[in-house]
């Protein structure tokens, strides 16, 4: 019994220590991104890598999400003769919710994993220590450009995802379900408010920060060669995905006051 309690206690203390480390890491980032020196070349490189190269995967996911959303809504809503609401449902769901979440999850898998692997490899091959010995703060050089890139790029990606997602819904509704093009477009625009789009973009910024934070944190903490780097990559994707979903709920509650 004592051994069991000791193990539970040790696990709990380990959890608290890890939470503390992560919080410290995140706070350092929040403070650091507003203070020089900045590395514009590195930030730009990360923005291109995180944004431009994620466009195909995010675009495709958004397109099919919008399409399936229209199809599902139709099969459900037709039972209540509420088909006219489909355009509104698609545009609100995509801009408020699905655009940022789907893009966040895809970027976590594509970019968060790569960040963890790259920084993790640098850690286990002493490259991070080498940065320090060359009078360069590794946190500032490696982590901050990625955090900033996450914060800037995700909202831009989500704007694209929103447009493509809504377009997916439009395609299915007009070509497959036989909706009138004009009335579909009017209903799409009619109930959409600026706050719907803005709330989605705020979420996107937060998710971008989370993806970069988790990728950098787990890479930075990795130990023990190839196995450690592999583990860091897994942790980065899993923790970013979970945090995105949890934060999504909290932000929705905060932004819409429900």
């Amino acid at each position: 019994m004592t051994i069991f309690l000791a193990r539970v206690g040790a696990a709990f203390l380990g959890f608290l220590a890890a939470t503390g480390r992560l919080t410290g890491f995140a706070l350092k980032g929040l403070v650091g991104i507003f203070s020089p020196p900045f590395y514009p070349r590195l930030i730009l490189r990360q923005i291109v890598y995180m944004g431009y190269y994620s466009l195909p995967v995010v675009g495709l996911t958004a397109l099919f999400t919008g399409m399936v959303l229209a199809l599902q809504s139709y099969t459900g809503f037709s039972r209540f003769n509420a088909e006219s609401a489909i355009a509104t449902v698609v545009v609100l769901s995509v801009t408020r919710e699905l655009g940022p979440v789907i893009a966040g999850l895809m970027v976590a898998g594509r970019v968060g994993a790569a960040m963890a692997a790259e920084i993790g490899t640098m850690r286990v091959t002493d490259q991070i220590d080498a940065l320090t010995t060359l009078s360069t703060d590794p946190y500032r050089y490696l982590v901050l450009p990625r955090l900033l890139a996450g914060l800037i790029t995700m909202p831009l990606l989500v704007v694209v995802a929103d447009i493509i997602g809504v377009f997916g819904g439009y395609l299915v509704s007009t070509y497959k379900l036989g909706f009138n093009v004009e009335s579909y477009l009017v209903s799409t625009a009619q109930h959409l408010e600026t706050s719907d789009v803005v709330s989605g973009l705020v979420k996107a910024g937060v998710f971008g920060f989370i993806v970069a934070l988790m990728g950098c944190y787990h890479g930075y903490q990795s130990r023990g060669g190839a196995e450690g780097v592999g583990q860091a990559t897994t942790y980065a994707v899993v923790s970013a995905s979970i945090l995105i979903l949890v934060t999504d709920y909290l932000l929705t509650a905060a932004l819409f006051g429900t």
Partner: protein, 270 residues
């Protein structure tokens, strides 16, 4: 060997060691790795720390560099205490250091010349064109032509990577250069080339050198003074030419590479 330094007050000459370590202790969890290290290194001296794998040689260097923080003890550089120093102080101190890592630790996303110029551009804010010229100069100093500068580190052999790492370590002309197992993993000829380059570069820059190695050929060649680290303590130290007549059973076993003796190899890595 030890240069005398004149104190700023102008009065009596005092000899301040470049590096002075007293009572340095460091452990990881329950494992005590450094158990009260006392050692000095004079200005311009080349100190070599020898010891088996897992005896804490790398941990010792990382404590001096500030990459690890000791539990207790004192590390003075030029007479100034560095344990517990401020972040700004540590950044300023880093300008004095250069380090050659065991695995070279070159940045694989950058060209070879950018690796060499890294400390100058990022650390000291030098403009790229000037840093590039210096990088090619340093590459030439370690026997590498300009064409190598444009390659990526992954395209180089282990020996070439060590040379580039050496060029990077001396690029900013540091006052103290650390060498972590500089010849490990190299063939005997390339190891000798690296040893010669280390001696040449350290002499040219006029730096103090601290090397850790278990290669006795290298230790004899590059060291003015040798210290043997065993179980977290310095069990012997003396001039390099006295190592064969030390009358110390630890040194005797290590130098002759005998399995039998007071040194039992550690199973676990530090």
């Amino acid at each position: 060997m030890s240069d005398a330094r004149t104190s700023t007050s102008g009065a009596p000459k005092i000899s301040v060691p470049k590096i002075s370590v007293r009572g340095l202790r460091k452990s990881f969890g329950p494992k005590l790795v450094l158990d009260g290290i006392d050692i000095d290194c004079a200005v311009g001296e080349s100190l070599v720390i020898i010891g088996g794998s897992g005896t804490g040689k790398s941990v010792f260097i990382k404590n001096i560099l500030g990459l690890l923080h000791p539990e207790s003890g004192s590390i003075k550089i030029d007479g100034a205490e560095t344990v517990g120093m401020s972040r700004a102080g540590r950044t300023a101190l880093m300008y004095k250091f250069g380090m050659l890592f065991q695995g070279a630790a070159l940045f694989d996303s950058l060209h070879v010349w950018e690796n060499v110029a890294f400390g100058l551009i990022q650390g000291r804010g030098m403009e790229r064109a000037r840093a590039r010229d210096i990088a090619f100069e340093k590459l030439a100093a370690v026997g590498l032509g300009a064409e190598v500068g444009e390659l990526r580190p992954a395209e180089l052999s282990g020996g070439m990577q060590k040379r580039v790492a050496l060029a990077r370590a001396i690029a900013a002309e540091p006052e103290i250069i650390f060498f972590d197992e500089p010849t490990t993993g190299l063939d005997p000829i390339m190891a000798d080339v690296i040893n010669d380059l280390i001696i040449k570069c350290v002499r040219e820059v006029g730096a103090t050198a601290v090397s850790i190695t278990h290669d006795m050929v290298s230790a004899r060649k590059i060291g003015d003074r040798i210290a043997l680290l065993h179980k977290g303590k310095i069990v012997w130290q003396g001039p390099a030419d006295e190592i064969d007549n030390s009358d110390n059973p630890f040194v005797d076993q290590f130098v002759h590479g005998r399995a039998e003796g007071p040194i039992q190899m550690e199973v676990r890595a530090v």
